[in-house]
Assembly symmetry: C2
Homo-oligomer: 287 residues x 2
Amino acid sequence: MAENLKTILSSQTKTVEISRDKPTVIIGERINPTGRKKVQAALEAGNFDIIRQDAADQVAAGADILDVNAGVPGADEPTLMRQVMRVVMEVTDVPLSIDSNNTEALKAGLELYEGKALVNSVNGEERSLQAVLGPVKDHGAAVIGLCMDDDGIPETPEARLAVAARIIERATSLGIPIEDVIIDPLTLTMGADSQAGKITLQTIELVIKEFGVNITMGASNISFGLPDRKYINAASVAMAVYAGATCPITNPLVTEIRTAILAADLTLGRDVHAMRWIKAYRQRKAA
Amino acid sequence: MAENLKTILSSQTKTVEISRDKPTVIIGERINPTGRKKVQAALEAGNFDIIRQDAADQVAAGADILDVNAGVPGADEPTLMRQVMRVVMEVTDVPLSIDSNNTEALKAGLELYEGKALVNSVNGEERSLQAVLGPVKDHGAAVIGLCMDDDGIPETPEARLAVAARIIERATSLGIPIEDVIIDPLTLTMGADSQAGKITLQTIELVIKEFGVNITMGASNISFGLPDRKYINAASVAMAVYAGATCPITNPLVTEIRTAILAADLTLGRDVHAMRWIKAYRQRKAA
């Protein structure tokens, strides 16, 4: 059983500690034009009002970190990444997760950022390892490692662990501290494979037992194609937190998800006197 | 690690298997006058309409077993238990959990019942062990063992395991098969002690590791005194199912609880092609 590791991220003014001894850290997922045509159109028109709103709303709803993705098809992504990050940093002061599969956009974001950012993401493909880990190391950032490689997402928890191990090995061999690698076990949808959730939970358990690193996961893909997704996402994220996920990427504006994470922390004894629970309840009532 | 055991319960026409390989079994909690003045008054007046409605509604909402408690203060409980059980058996055909701390009421229920009932409950007090286990053995029933004794509910998971061990030892020494003892770890409210949920989850893990028996638990006491209880109960029951609880006692009419249990089964790979999830969704839509 590996020791539980702590990841520290920071903005210019705020520090966030990710650890199984602390309440779960929510990475807000909404600043992402993928699949959001309105956001794409606004960004193409140079209108950042939606971004400002999404940033402020997510932090108000409990996001501790904001994921920033500027992947508009055909756009100059490095430039757009910097623009979106500037807008987000104007209205909030939480640490950012710089999200792109475009290495130049990641570098542009890292160069702009002041503090210790999270890079979303590297995976087990040789090309990804070579492109992403260097800039992560150069900027002293942390990085999310996805359990997939050239052959796609492995079917078994053991094979996903092997990909995590490869990413961790490469990162640490470059001098990135192991605690700055956060593993995403990846989740296929249970709408297509009813074993998908179980495989993800087992991967989380294996990776923690072996490496003790922090674990992120997208908290909504698991229910794709199924009805009443919010209830599935709520239960599965609570179970993932129990398994050891520490920083899910999700939408804190969905009451069922936000409350599931808070209630999971409460049930795991991480909310002394239920003060976070009661505070969030009062916020919901006042909203 | 003990082998996972299966408990079989039955009515005259239906059999229910409780096992960690199967979907979670819901024991409906509502047929219980405790704290429900309207139900008490109706039972005192010999009016069983509420009981009929509660029985039918809970089964329609997914209860696999119905808990029947007839504890009206001052009433002739053995007689009332038989009356309530008859009414319930008129309108539903699921197995029953005969719930009383009055030994004569338990015996009256067991004598009336045809099939294999669950007896709710015995605890680690010498008086309880002596009064309850004999009738359970005589009628070939299964029994819920509560992790408490003359000193109350132990504070630590290890001490609760010790009570479970004592109950299991006494039951098996009388010839009750170990798989017919279902352990309730008990849950204090997190409103008073923020470690209460964690202690319950750890007790579940310990009892399963040691004995492999099935686990029940009241799914709502954990949130007593806190606001927005349904969200806490939903997350904590999903986590308890992941820990190994197999037959929570709860109110399936609360959408958040019913969906949390179904989603936990789905996430654990116990709902092939998500058919139970989709069926329950259609039922909710049609309601």
